[in-house]
Amino acid sequence: MVRRTFASLLIAAFVALGVYGTGAQAAQAAQAPPFIKIGTLYASAGPFAAISMPVHKALQLWEEQVNAQGGIYVKPYGKKIPIKIIAYDDQSSTSTAATLYNQLITQDKVDILVSDSGSVLTSVAVPIAREHKMLLFDQTGTGMNFFTADNPYIVLLSDPISNLWPKNAAEFLTKEGPKLGIKRVALLYSTNDFTGSQATGFRDVFKGSAIDVVYDHGVPTNTSSYTVLIQTIKALNPDAVIELGYPNNDIAFLRDLQGSGTKFKMVFTVYPGLETDLLLKTVGEKGLAYTYTYTPPTAIKYKPDFGMNLDAFKAAWVKKYKDTTDFGFNAVAGYVTALVLEKTLATTDTMDQMALRKAVFALSGKLRTLDGTFMLRSDGAQIGELTPLGQIVPSGNGEVKFVILYPPEAANGKAVYPAP
C-alpha cells in the first residue's frame, strides 16, 4: 500500500514537473523577443566621422557574423537570439545626437544603449542615459568627468579613461627621462574631453618630478595649422614635445613639423599608434620616424580568450570592407564593444539595466580580448587595456615598426634619443 502510494506520488510529481517544465519553457519562449535591440549612433559625416565609422562598422561586422550563427546566447531567455542594431546618423552633431539618443530609448525602446564613438558625442549621452536609468555602454568616450561615484549608468568598454592613457608615457618621462637628459617638456593639446584629460594625466604624473613643463597650451580641436605653434615651442628649447590631438590634429602637426624643417629630440603624439595606416598614408614613414606614441594592439598582438585574435579580425575586416575604411584602433574598439556585449548577455541574470551592469562588472579582470584585459573601476571607468609607450622605427619600405619602451616588463627595446 505504502509502495503503491509512493509510486503514485512519484508519478504525480514527475507529471507535475513535466507539465511545469513544458509550461515554463513555453512561457520563456513566449517571452523571448525575436531579437535583441541594440541602439547606437554613428557619424557618417562631420569632424568625428573618421573615428566613428570604423567603430560602427565593427559592430555591423559582428552583427552579421553572430546572426549568421543564429544570434547570441542570451541567458535570461536561455537560448540564442538574433541581434538587431538600430543605428542613427548624428552627423557629428551633439544636438542631433541628444535627440537621437532620446529616440532610441523612448521610441525604439532598445534593450541596450551604446554611445557613438569619442568623448564629444558620448558627452550628451551620459546625462540622457542616467535620466532614463539606462546603462550606457560607452565605447570610446573616455572623458574623466563622465565617471562619478553617484552614476551607476555608464561603463567604458574599449579604451581606458583618458587621464590613464598617458600613464606609461608620463612615467617613462619622469623615471627614464632624466637619465636621457629630458627635463624640459612642452605640452600642446586639443581642447576636448579626450585630449584635455590626457593632458591632465601627464600633468598629474609630472607633479613633484624633475620634469619642468615649459609650455602648456591648448588649441581648438579644429586646428589645422601648427607652424607658428611649432616655432613658439622651438623658441623654448624643450627636450620633449607632447602633442595630444585627434587624427586631424596629429596629421597637421606632424606634417607641419616635417615641412618647417624643425627637429625636436622627442615628439609624442596619439594617433600614429592608434590609426597607423591612416597616419602612414597622410604623414608618411619619414614624418613618423622615431616619434613616440601609444603602442597599438596591432603591435602587441594580445592572445584573446574570447573573440577573434587581431589577425583573424583584420582578415574579416578587409574581406568585408576592403579599403573603404582604414583598419586601426577604432575598428578594434568597436569589436571589443561587441565582445563585451556578447559576454554580458550570455551571463546576465535578467535584462534589467542594473543586472546588465552587474554582468559587465563581473567580466572585469576576467575578460581578455584582442585589446588586452578588460578591467573596470567602481564608477564604470575602464582601467585595463592600457597601451605601453612605443617608439616608431622606420623600416625603409614605407612601413613602420613599434619598439615598446615602457613599462619595463613589456619593453622590447631602448629609446632612440635624441631622434636622428
Binding site: A50, S92, V228, A235, N248, I251, R255, T325
Partner: protein, 291 residues
C-alpha cells in the same frame, strides 16, 4: 616670434584670400551666397588627391586641369540653379537655403564615394626643404600656396580690369538691372563668373592638403564659414578686397595661436562681429559701388 607670426600670417592669409575669392566673385556678380563653396573646395582637393595617388600627377598640374574642369561644371550648374533662384522674391535669402542643401548633398555623396577618413598628399611633393624668408623658415608648401594665390588674384584682376568680359562682369556687379537694360547678356556673364568662382575654390582645394594637413568630406562647412568672415572683412562683392581680408585673417590667426591659442577658433566670428559693428560695408566697401 612677432616677425614669424606676421610673415606666417601673410602667407596663410594669402591662401585664405584665394579660398574666399570665388565666394566673393559669385556674391558680387549674382548677389547670392554660395554656402556650398567649401564643398567645391573639398571636391577640388579630392580631385588632386585621387589623381596623385592613382596616377602620380603633381598637384600643380592637376590644379591647371581643375580650373578648366570646374569652369565647365559651373556653367550647367549655374543654369540649373541660379536663374530660377533669381526669379524668386528673395534670391539672397533663398540662396542660403538652396546652397546649404547643395552643400549637404555634396558632402553626403563625397562621404559615400571617398569614405570619412582623413586623406592627404605628401608635403614633399611640392619640395622638401623649407624656404627662408627674412631669416625665418617656412614650409615650402606655404610659399607655393601663397604664390599661387597671388597669381590667381592677379589673373582675376586682369580678367576684371583688362578684358572685355571683365568689363561686362564689373557692369553686372555694379548694377545688374542697368546692365540687363543695356543689352549685356547678364546670364552668360554670371555663368562665367560662377564657373570662375567654383574653379577658384577648386584651386584652393588642390592646395588644401598642404595648408590644412588633411582633407575630409566634412571640411567644407568650416571652410565656408572662414571664407565668409574673410569676404565680409574685405567687403562683400569686392573680389580683390578679399585678399586684404585674407591677410588680416591670417595675421590675426597667427597672433591668436601664438598668444591665446585656446581661443583661436573664435577668431573668424570675432572679426566678423567687429567688422560688422565698426564698418559694416567691409574694409573696402566703398569700392564695391564704384566697381
Amino acid at each position: 616670434m612677432l616677425e614669424y607670426s606676421i610673415l606666417a600670417g601673410i602667407l596663410f592669409g594669402l591662401y585664405f584670400g584665394l579660398v574666399a575669392l570665388g565666394l566673393n566673385l559669385i556674391f558680387g556678380v549674382m548677389k547670392i551666397v554660395n554656402l556650398a563653396h567649401g564643398d567645391f573646395l573639398m571636391l577640388g582637393a579630392y580631385g588632386a588627391y585621387i589623381v596623385f595617388t592613382d596616377f602620380h600627377v603633381n598637384p600643380l598640374v592637376t590644379l591647371l586641369a581643375e580650373i578648366v574642369i570646374f569652369v565647365i561644371i559651373g556653367f550647367p550648374l549655374y543654369y540649373l540653379l541660379v536663374p530660377r533662384l533669381q526669379a524668386s522674391r528673395d534670391p539672397e535669402m533663398l540662396s542660403l537655403i538652396l546652397f546649404f542643401g547643395l552643400s549637404q548633398v555634396i558632402e553626403a555623396l563625397a562621404t559615400l564615394g571617398f569614405g570619412s577618413s582623413e586623406r592627404s598628399i605628401p608635403g614633399t611633393v611640392l619640395g622638401s626643404a623649407p624656404i627662408s624668408i627674412f631669416q625665418q623658415t617656412f614650409p615650402v608648401a606655404w610659399v607655393v600656396s601663397g604664390s599661387v594665390s597671388l597669381l590667381a588674384v592677379g589673373a582675376i584682376y586682369v580678367y576684371l580690369y583688362r578684358t572685355r568680359l571683365g568689363q561686362l562682369t564689373r557692369a553686372v556687379m555694379a548694377q545688374r538691372e542697368e546692365a540687363l537694360s543695356t543689352g549685356i547678356d547678364v546670364q552668360r556673364i554670371s555663368a562665367i563668373a560662377f564657373g570662375i568662382g567654383i574653379a577658384g575654390a577648386a584651386v584652393a582645394g588642390v592646395l588644401s592638403p598642404f595648408m590644412m594637413g588633411s582633407i575630409t568630406p566634412a571640411m567644407g562647412v568650416s571652410v565656408t564659414i572662414t571664407s565668409f568672415a574673410v569676404i565680409v572683412m574685405g567687403s562683400l562683392g569686392n573680389p580683390l578686397g578679399t585678399v586684404a581680408g585674407g591677410i588680416i585673417y591670417g595675421i590675426a590667426l597667427m597672433f591668436m595661436q601664438t598668444y591665446f591659442s585656446s581661443w583661436a577658433n573664435l577668431l573668424p566670428y570675432l572679426l566678423l562681429i567687429a567688422i560688422l559693428l565698426v564698418k559694416p560695408t567691409g574694409l573696402f566697401g566703398r569700392r564695391v559701388r564704384n566697381a
